[in-house]
């Protein structure tokens, strides 16, 4: 079918294989997190977790313009970014289960899962902690002329941290190839953006640092892809940083301690009705990229991959107790 101007950006820009892979990753994120939650409920894993169910379009569409040489920094709600940047769910589950086979050999857990070899510089337990680090990665790219771009994911909560403001200013002053992707899911833990943030749209913050800032429907895969692709292209051309704000929503609570006392069931339901995965499926079907049975097959395969990943993790190796101080420093060179 003709890809005219009314065709969504993602359908026009990316080939069918790329779009099917994107749907697969969105399902992987959804099922990975459901699997993690289920494993927690059964007492198979400890600690806590921050689930991004409902935000899958933002993670996957934002990573679409990137290659393995490009970098991302992520957040405490980072499983989606990790899968979006190409990590395997088996090794992610192994990390969740605290096993040596995990990406961080069981030392990091949910809040630090990252496949460094795919350009993921790490999730981060500190709100805003990854933002200056992303700018540093962009400085390396500029200084060494690698051509790499860094995407910096952060939530609405981070936009009131000093690190956010300092890092955006430095990125702009030095014209660095970095794209700041704010996943605005309306609440920093329980505090709404209305109660925490002086501007209406977080993208308005960009004006203070002389960079473009746009707000898009973060549950619309194509809208996110278009905004981030444009920002990545701009960064690659050497024209400096941009800020993209994806309006989205986490269906689950902040973490396992959340009793959902700050939002209503109606609000949650209204966002569940805007499921980014179903919307993307419908869009792919409407434009003849993937029919229902094709999408069902991708969904089923993702489900199996997650089940296999959990089985892999359960069979993993526990770290040796004597190795508790391993990895604090580089191994001494012999």
């Amino acid at each position: 079918m003709a890809k005219d101007d009314n065709t969504p950006f993602a359908i026009r820009r990316y080939d069918a294989e790329t779009l099917r892979e994107a749907l697969r990753k969105m399902y992987l994120i959804r099922f990975f997190e459901e699997g993690a939650e289920d494993s927690y409920t059964r007492g198979l894993i400890h600690g806590t977790m921050h689930l991004s169910i409902g935000q899958e379009a933002s993670a996957v569409a934002s990573c679409l313009p990137l290659t393995d040489d490009d970098k991302i920094t992520s957040t405490h709600r980072g499983h989606g970014h990790c899968i979006g940047k190409g990590a395997e769910v088996g090794r992610m589950f192994a990390e969740f289960f605290g096993k040596e086979e995990g990406y961080c050999h069981g030392r990091g857990g949910s809040m630090h899962i990252a496949d460094v070899t795919k350009g993921n510089l790490g999730a981060n337990g500190i709100v805003g902690g990854g933002i200056p680090i992303a700018v540093g990665a962009a400085l390396t790219a500029k200084q060494l002329g690698t051509g790499a771009v860094t995407i910096c994911f952060f939530g609405d909560g981070a936009n009131n941290e000093g690190a956010f403001h300092e890092a955006l200013n430095i990125a702009a002053v030095w014209k660095l190839p970095v794209v700041f992707v704010c996943e605005n899911n309306k609440y920093g833990m329980s505090t709404s953006t209305e109660r925490s943030t002086a501007v209406k749209d977080i993208a308005q913050r960009a004006a203070a640092y002389s960079m473009p800032g746009v707000t898009v429907d973060g549950n619309d895969f194509s809208a996110v892809a278009e905004a981030v692709q444009e920002a990545v292209d701009r960064a690659r051309r050497g024209e400096g940083p941009s800020l993209v704000e994806n309006l989205t929503y986490r269906w689950r609570g902040h973490s396992k301690s959340d009793r959902n006392r700050y939002r209503t069931k109606d609000e949650i339901d209204s966002w569940i009705a805007r499921d980014p995965i179903l919307r993307f499926r419908e869009e792919l079907a409407a434009h003849g990229v993937l029919d229902a049975s094709g999408a069902d097959a991708i969904e089923a395969a993702a489900r199996r991959e997650v089940e296999d990943g959990i089985a892999f993790a359960k069979g993993g190796t526990d770290p040796t107790i004597a190795d508790v101080t391993k990895y604090v420093y580089a191994e001494a060179r012999s």
Binding site: A114, G129, P132, I133, G136, L139, Q143, E166, Y329, A330
Partner: protein, 339 residues
Amino acid sequence: MNAPTRNPEIQTRELSYAEAIREAMGMALARDERVILMGEDIGVYGGAFQVTGDLVERFGPDRVRDTPISELGGAGVAVGAALTGLRPIFEFQFSDFATLAMEQIVNQAAKMRYMLGGEASVPLVFRMPAGSGTGAAAQHSQSFEAWFGHVPGLKVLQPSTPEDAKGLLLAALEDPDPVVVFEHKLLYKLKGHVPDGWYTTPIGKAAVRREGRDLTIVASAIMVHRALAAAEKLAEEGIDVEVIDLRSVRPIDHETIIASVRKTGRLICVYEGVRTLGIGAEISAMIAESEAFDYLDAPILRLGGVEAPIPYNPELEKAAVPQAPDIEAAARKLARKEV
């Protein structure tokens, strides 16, 4: 062993402590394109203490990079740069300002390798002008070595001589992990022999600056010089003091200190940081847990900063941290078994 013995083959010249640091940075910039300097006013201004000096003229503003006054942001950018292939040397204008960047130093730089299970490395040097004695009062005169020494993942150095200032900085730069180097501001103008060329001073190794039989003083940074001055006075009274320059707060060289205390049976720890919960507590406890404990003939003493911010008035400022006469008096008492 007042002056260390030198290999006549190695060329040395007199340089100041600041010049030695600048020479090390210049050599590093010339040798490796991944090395960059970052900090506030380190470019044309030359740094608040003129340590970077004219390096910007030799290497340009991209490699000798003035940052905005954004300690947290700047330190975090350095962490990200180190994580992805650069070898940044980040200068805090005063070590006091590192308080603004603790998040990036303590939560990020120090833990990145561990959190990522050894899959990442942050080869980053933080340079920290530290210490009192400049009349700059409470927010520009602190000594935070023990704070940073409490963080696994960091290495913490305190050079006391121009030779070590260069050698330890080059060692820090070669190290694959983040290293915090405290440079005492009163030492910047101190002159001393500095070897030519690229050399490294081993991290984690203390130096015996003066050998003695009666008493061991473990000191760091400027306190090494005050301890040596005290030792000379005491020598006139027949008290033979051994002075150990700690050089590295993390890791601490247990072996050298234990060997010295086994020999002398007496120990004083002298450091500029606040006395309580400081470096001296760690060294005292380490000796108490070691085989040297049985050799002690007297209690261990600690001389450190008083329990107050650094005051402005010059006499009060001097009184706030150990001075040579304080060290001399304490050592005399200890040697005469008056403690």
